[in-house]
Amino acid sequence: MKKSTLKLLDKMQKVDRRIIYIIVAFSIIIPLLIPFNSKTYVTEPTSNIYQKVDSFAGDDTKAVLMSFTHNASTMPELFPMEVALLRHCFERDIKVLTICWLPAAAPLVDYAINQAKEGYDVQSGVDYCNFGYKPYALRLPIMLGMGDDIAKAVETDSQGRKIENLEIMNNIKNYDDMNIIVDFAGNSSAIQWIMYARAKFGANIAAGITAVMVADNYPYLQTGQLLGMFRGLKGAAEYEKLVDVFAAYESDKFPNGRPFSKEIINDTWVPITRDKVTYEVDGKMIETDADLQYKFKKARIGMNAQSVAHVMIIVFIILGNIGFFLTKKKKKKIV
């Protein structure tokens, strides 16, 4: 009896990794296939970016610069943030500029813009401009050059047009005319923007990073050198909710989105299983005419999978520890 119990406890500690893999796989796949409603709590690093971007809504003297420093491998986490930020800019009539530093990121920028702009009356060179791929070797001179003159540092956009001739560049000369610069990466590349664009020219910097890199970037967030941070898929989910609740909100009082409010964001939920954007406030459902498109709730669906996967990992950790302690206890008794 004692031996069989010991065997069971031993098994609890030595679960085959293939079993762990299959359980983790199912805990990710099932919530992705069958989405369920879960609450998204918006944190300060994400809402700071939202508020900064939104503060110049409709102002044609300011632009948002999105820097893509990643390739397809980190897309599942970073792409939803990029689409959410672009959607915010298009909803609120904010000029947006994009640049990428890796050859593999160039199609990714096009893909993000094309996904976000569907349904919006926006034009390349007028409402947004993709500067295209610039070699990483030129990152430092371009970063520094943009502090003096963007048109001179970047020269042409992805379609080969002279930047200085584009309508979007009217009133936009250098970092003084930038609302915020957001760097999307699977590493700490935002540090370069802090060192050169912020330290030398005082630009506002934010970072969109994968969850595993969050801890590395925390020192800059705490010092305020990073104005805000999208922390992995969670950050993307939070931004999606912010755009749904404020930027995409339409009513007689606020025909083009409403201003950010902490109270509203804390009390409002947007159920993702519905086809229409629905606001749940104190248990009451307010359904709107706007479609809740899959591409604009991708991060929130992904967060369901992440939640279940985290719980499964914690269950495995607990199981392993129960086995470990009980074995230790039993062995002591036997001795």
Binding site: S73, T74, D110, A137, A215, N321
Partner: protein, 207 residues
């Protein structure tokens, strides 16, 4: 000469950049503009060098029928096909290049990165055992941060995200800053050694 000329370039240009950073004079600004043009001219050669190197390494593997040479064939076909697709039809939406990106590169890249979740799950199960006080602290911190990262944590208790934030903001930052200060000092010392010509290993060719 093979070592002296590169060394001189590094010492002179390195020192000029140090001066440029601290002296906001017109000559300094003009020097920077001149440098920008040079960099733009030099950087395409790096791509060319990469393509030549990749072709040579994989070409040799195929020629010698080295183990797993078939993968080299796939690499070279991929390189040639992607480049041709980009050059001939462009890189805009609806082109074969974009098709390759969406249907080959994107899913493959995401697959590679997603493997991390499985390794982390397996490693966490094996490593997080409360064998000692330190291991127990690590285990508890990991569970709190994991729960704090998802909405479930806040649903269980409002203290989970608060504690998770505290772990990231206090103990994590203390360790991170210590490492960063150490790395920063090391980088400064190494840069100075390179500028002064003391550190020459980057030139290659042993001591």
């Amino acid at each position: 000469m093979k070592r002296q000329i590169p060394l001189m370039i590094v010492v002179i240009l390195g020192s000029m950049f140090v001066v440029h950073t601290f002296v906001p004079h017109k000559i300094s600004a003009d020097f920077f503009d001149w440098f920008q043009d040079w960099i733009k001219a030099i950087s395409p050669f790096a791509i060319l060098l990469g393509v030549i190197s990749l072709s040579m390494v994989n070409g040799t593997k195929i020629k010698r029928k080295a183990p797993n040479w078939q993968y080299s064939v796939v690499t070279l076909i991929g390189l040639a096909f992607t480049a041709i697709a980009g050059f001939v039809w462009g890189t805009q939406t609806g082109t074969p290049y974009m098709w390759l990106f969406k249907n080959v590169q994107m899913p493959m890249g995401a697959t590679m990165f997603s493997l991390l979740a499985f390794y982390i799950a397996s490693a966490a199960y094996k490593a997080f055992r409360a064998r000692s006080t330190e291991a127990t602290v690590l285990l508890i911190a990991a569970v709190i941060v994991m729960l704090g990262q998802v909405s479930l944590g806040a649903m269980i208790s409002k203290w989970i995200p608060i504690t998770s934030k505290w772990i990231l903001n206090v103990p994590n930052l203390a360790a991170k800053r210590a490492i960063m200060i150490g790395v920063g000092l090391g980088m400064t010392a190494t840069s100075l050694k390179i500028l002064l010509g003391i550190e020459r290993t980057y030139l290659g060719g042993g001591k």
